[in-house]
Every structure is written in C-alpha cells, then in structure tokens.
C-alpha cells in the first residue's frame, strides 16, 4: 500500500489566501448593490477601472521584482484592495483619481514593502488617504442619492462613463451635495432637528444613502463573521469604542452637537471600516486582546477626527495611525504559552 510520505500538517485545499479573498469579495456584494442602486453606475465603473489598474500595477511591479506574476495575481489580494478602495471613493470620481489612488495603494502601499503579507499599512486606506489629501475637492463631491437629485435623475451608464472620463461638464449645480457628516461639521447655527429638516436626503439617522450602505456592509460583515473569515474582536472593539465615545461626548441635539451614537454607527465609512478594513490580517494586530485594542483604537481615533478634526470622516486616518501602533500592541499583548508562567517582574530579595 502506498502511503503518502509527507509530514504534517495534512491540510488539503487550494490556495487558501485565494478562497479568503474571494469570500470577502463576495461579502462586499450587498454594499456594491446598494451603492449602485443609490448612485447609479458610477460605483460599478469605478470598481472595474480600479481592478484593472490594480492588476496592471501588481503585474508590472511583480515583473520588476522578478516574482511569479500569475501566482500572485490569482490570490485576489490586489482585486480586493481595488474593490475596497473603489467602494470608499465617491461614485463618478474622475478616472485619474481612481488611477492615482489605486496605483499608490498597490505600488507604494503593498509591493514596495515586499508584497502581500509584508505591508505595514492597509493598502486600500493608504491609497484613499493619498487621494484625500491630494485632491480634496474631487474626494468630497458625493452625488445626491436616488430620489434626492435636483431635477436630474441618477446618471445612466453612458453619462456616468462620460462624467468619469471628464468629457462632460454640463451637470447641474445641485448634483453633488454635502454628506451628513460634512453638514454636521460645518453646521454652526442649526439644531439637529432643523438641519435634518432642511436636508430631506439625510434620512432618519445617518444620511439616506449612508444608512443603507452601512447596513449593507454590516450584512456582508456578519456573513464573513458567520463564515469565520475573521473573529469578532476587531470589529466589535471598533464599533463599541465608537459608540462609547459618541455616547460620552453626545451633547444633545443643539447646534454644537457632535451627533448621536446611532448616527456615528450608521454614517460615513463606519461599517466598511469595521468589517472590511480593521479586520485586515496583515496590517492589524494579531493576538486576541491585541485585535480588541486595535479596533478600539480605530474607533476612538475615528470619533476624535470626526468630532474635532479637520476632516468630516476619520476612519481611514484612524486605521493608518493604528496600523503604526499594531506592532507595539502585539508586543504587549502576546498570549502566554500553555504551561508557561507569567514572567516575574522586579527584583527579589536575596538575589
């Protein structure tokens, strides 16, 4: 009888990275659908273009680094980075914006550090932040969601394509509008009730578009949690910290309000960040306690930037800052190996 003469582990299966990445890609589907329904084809065009750029950049750098191109392209990590980045960019952002952000994410954020598994920062968030601080105007012009455009329905496929390629300029002024986070940041005189009344598109909690998108990402995230792609620690840490911070600093519904906890949980990039960004196994902390702390740090920092910082949303900056702290967190939260005692600290008498 021929016995296999290989040592353990005897785990079988194809490229596991590939399967994980595919699952995560699948989980972004509700978010993609909701975004497309709300804002038209812009998201889909952005997605395709970002994926093409990411694969192209990845292949080019792999070739320069003399690594097997096909093997690394097939692990879907570049595709996932592109998808997460494209979901964070405003729909109908110009083609060069997506190109710059995605190229930066793949080349500078990932490959220059040594490729998958070596990047200290989350590539998607790095690309997003590069675009945000370089092109603030384009990065903050979100179109009005479906049903709230001023006399101009959501752009069709061809119009959207022309808009992204920069071929048309004849758009109505009210085509883009401030998001709820934007409005809350610049608001000086209106109470929350008045602010929401004057902007019907802010929906009931976090902005008509934002709520739906966040709920869709929450659904995708719960699916991933059910599939055990990641553990609950990092997302729970982030959402709990964000909720706690917004509860602590919730100063009512006056004109200087920082927004209610529910608003902060359901607006901006909260759910995308909590379930798709903070759970990145490469750039986040790895130990169980470390993941909780990492998530909590992201939540606290995101709230601090939202409430008192210069940008309306702070999830991307918070993630990058906590990525910097992740090695330190891991160092101080190393789990004790079974059978080992806690190290004794300090001096003992008689030594």
């Amino acid at each position: 009888m021929a016995l296999p003469r290989i040592t353990s582990p005897h785990a079988t299966g194809r490229n596991r990275t590939q399967q994980v990445m595919q699952l995560v890609l699948l989980a972004t589907l509700p978010g993609v659908l909701v975004l497309t329904w709300l804002y038209g084809f812009g998201t889909l065009i952005n997605l395709c273009w970002a994926i093409a750029v990411a694969l192209g950049c990845e292949a080019a750098v792999l070739r320069l680094r003399q690594r097997p191109i096909g093997f690394f392209l097939r692990d879907y990590s570049a595709v996932l980075t592109a998808v997460l980045l494209a979901l964070a960019l405003p729909p109908y952002s110009p083609w060069w914006l997506t190109l710059t952000a995605t190229g930066f994410a793949i080349v500078f954020g990932k490959q220059l550090f040594g490729g998958l598994g070596q990047n200290p920062f989350n590539p998607a968030m790095l690309g997003y932040v590069v675009a945000l601080i370089s092109f603030p105007v384009e990065m903050t012009s979100w179109p009005a969601p479906r049903g709230f455009e001023a006399a101009n329905p959501t752009l069709g496929l061809l119009d959207g394509l022309q808009r992204i390629l920069g071929l048309t300029d004849n758009l109505p002024d009210a085509w883009t509008q401030a998001t709820a986070l934007d409005a809350l940041k610049v608001n000086k005189s209106l109470t929350i009730a008045e602010l929401w009344e004057s902007n019907p598109s802010f929906g009931s909690v976090g902005g008509y578009g934002s709520e739906a998108v966040n709920l869709a990402f929450l659904a995708g995230g719960l699916f991933l949690l059910y599939k055990r792609v990641f553990t609950w620690h990092a997302p729970a840490g982030m959402l709990a910290a964000l909720a706690l911070m917004s509860l602590l600093f919730w100063n009512g519904a006056g004109s200087d309000s920082n927004g209610s906890p529910l608003f902060h949980l359901l607006t901006g990039a909260t759910m995308l960040g909590a379930f798709f960004i903070v759970t990145d196994p490469v750039s986040g902390a790895t130990s169980v306690l470390g993941r909780l702390l990492f998530g909590a740090g992201v939540g606290v920092l995101a709230y601090v930037i939202r409430a008192w910082g210069g940008y309306p949303d702070g999830v991307a900056f918070a993630v990058l800052l906590m990525n910097l702290a992740a090695p330190t967190i891991d160092y101080y939260t190393r789990p004790r190996t079974y059978g080992h005692r806690k190290p004794e600290r300090g001096f003992k008498l008689g030594e």
Binding site: T100, F108, V130, I133, F135, P136, E138
Partner: protein
C-alpha cells in the same frame, strides 16, 4: 595618502554624495525642497558655508587641540552661517523670509560638520576648499532636482517665483509643462512627497550603480578557473 582632485570631485558629486549616499542634512533637504527656488536658495547658501568652513578649518587644523576641535568647528560654521544670513537679508529678503529657520539651521547641517571633521581637518586648504565645493554641488544638485520634481508634480509648473533669487530678470522663467488642466498632486508638495521622491532618487542612483557595476564586470575577462586545492578543515580556504 591624499585623494586626487578627480577623486574628490567624483566622491562629492556621485560616489559619496551627501544627499543620496551619506544621507546627511536630511532636515533641510526635505524641509525646503518644495519648490525649485527654495531648494536653489538653500543649496547656494549651504555650498558657500561649506566651502568657506572647509577652508577655515583646514587653516587652523595645525593649532587646534583634538579635545576642543568640534566646538571650534561649530563656532566657525556658525560665524559663516551668520554671514550668509546677513547677506540674504540684504539681497534676497523675501527668500530669506520663506526659508526662515532653515538658514540658521545650516549651522547644524551634518554635511558641513562632517566634512570639516572628516576631510578638512586632515587636508590642505586647496583640497579642503575643493572638497567643500564638490560636496556642496552634490548636495545642491540633489536638493534642486528634488525641489524641481516636487514642484512639477505638485503644481504642474517649474521655476516659479525665480525672481526671489535672480531679481526682476527672472520674472517670467516659469514653465507650465503639464498644461493648465493639471490639477496638482498636492501630496508631492506636502512632507510625505519629500520622503517619497528622495527615496525614488536613491533607488534610481542604486540602479545606475548596479548597472555600471554589471557592465564593468561583463567587460572584464572571466577569471582563470581556480585549480583544485587540498581541502583544509581549519582556517579560510583562499
């Protein structure tokens, strides 16, 4: 064993370039390279201080005690920097205001103290001054290329505001190379852009060096195959 002038020049400009190889004086290099005119202004000031300080240090090298040499060098450099500062106040006041703290900081530029202690304290005055000039040009070239690259990427134009340095003659030296539609890649002007562009420049220099080395190796005839030797179990087999 003193270096020839040729070697000094090659060292300063390329092989031992202060900006790309020694990585000295990074603070002013990264801090003032957001436009060509700023970079050129600081490059000229640094070069002038470097030449004069190298010459002065070389002059007093025989009479300086080893123990007090560093304070003495720093005094010389500080005095020269003050001269430059006053000159800039007199002739290019606007540029002086833009460069701000980085002019007095020339005193603490590691390139200058490093060349004073590493070269001028051991060599004659002519050689030292020439080394200062070459190191200054090498540093200045990196600074100007970095400044031009960041200015071009960040704003789409090159040589803006050159009149700050060259007077009204240079009012319209500005070149808009990337067209008026170019939005400006703001990151290049911000501090991260300095690190990124400098990193790319260092990588580029390393690539050029590697290519040159490979070419030199290819040109040499293959070494004779080494005849077999007895194996020794201790020591190094040559």
């Amino acid at each position: 064993m003193s270096q020839s002038y040729r070697e000094i020049a090659i060292n300063g400009l390329w092989k031992n370039n202060p900006g790309l190889v020694q990585l000295l004086g990074l603070c002013p290099l990264l801090g003032t390279s957001n436009s060509t005119v700023n970079a050129l202004g600081l490059a000229l000031a640094t070069m002038l201080v470097l030449v004069c300080s190298n010459a002065a240090v070389s002059l007093i090298r025989g009479v300086t005690q080893t123990a007090v040499r560093l304070p003495a060098f720093v005094m010389i450099i500080a005095a020269l920097t003050t001269c430059i500062e006053l000159l800039m106040q007199a002739f290019t006041y606007e540029l002086y205001q833009i460069l701000g703290i980085f002019i007095p900081l020339i005193t603490t530029n590691c390139v200058i103290l490093g060349r004073a202690d590493g070269f001028a304290a051991k060599n004659g005055i002519a050689r030292s001054a020439f080394d200062g000039l070459m190191m200054g040009i090498g540093f200045g070239l990196v600074l100007v290329v970095l400044g031009a690259a960041r200015e071009l990427l960040g704003t789409g134009v090159l040589f803006a505001n050159m009149q700050l340095l060259f007077g009204p003659l240079a009012e319209n030296w500005q070149l808009s190379l990337l067209g008026s539609d170019y939005k400006g890649f703001l990151l290049a002007i911000l501090p991260p852009g300095a690190f990124l562009v400098l990193g790319l420049m260092i990588a580029g220099k390393n690539i050029v060096d590697q290519r040159a080395e490979a070419r030199a190796k290819a040109r040499q005839p293959a070494p004779e195959p080494v005849p077999s030797r007895r194996v020794r179990v201790t020591g190094v087999v040559e």
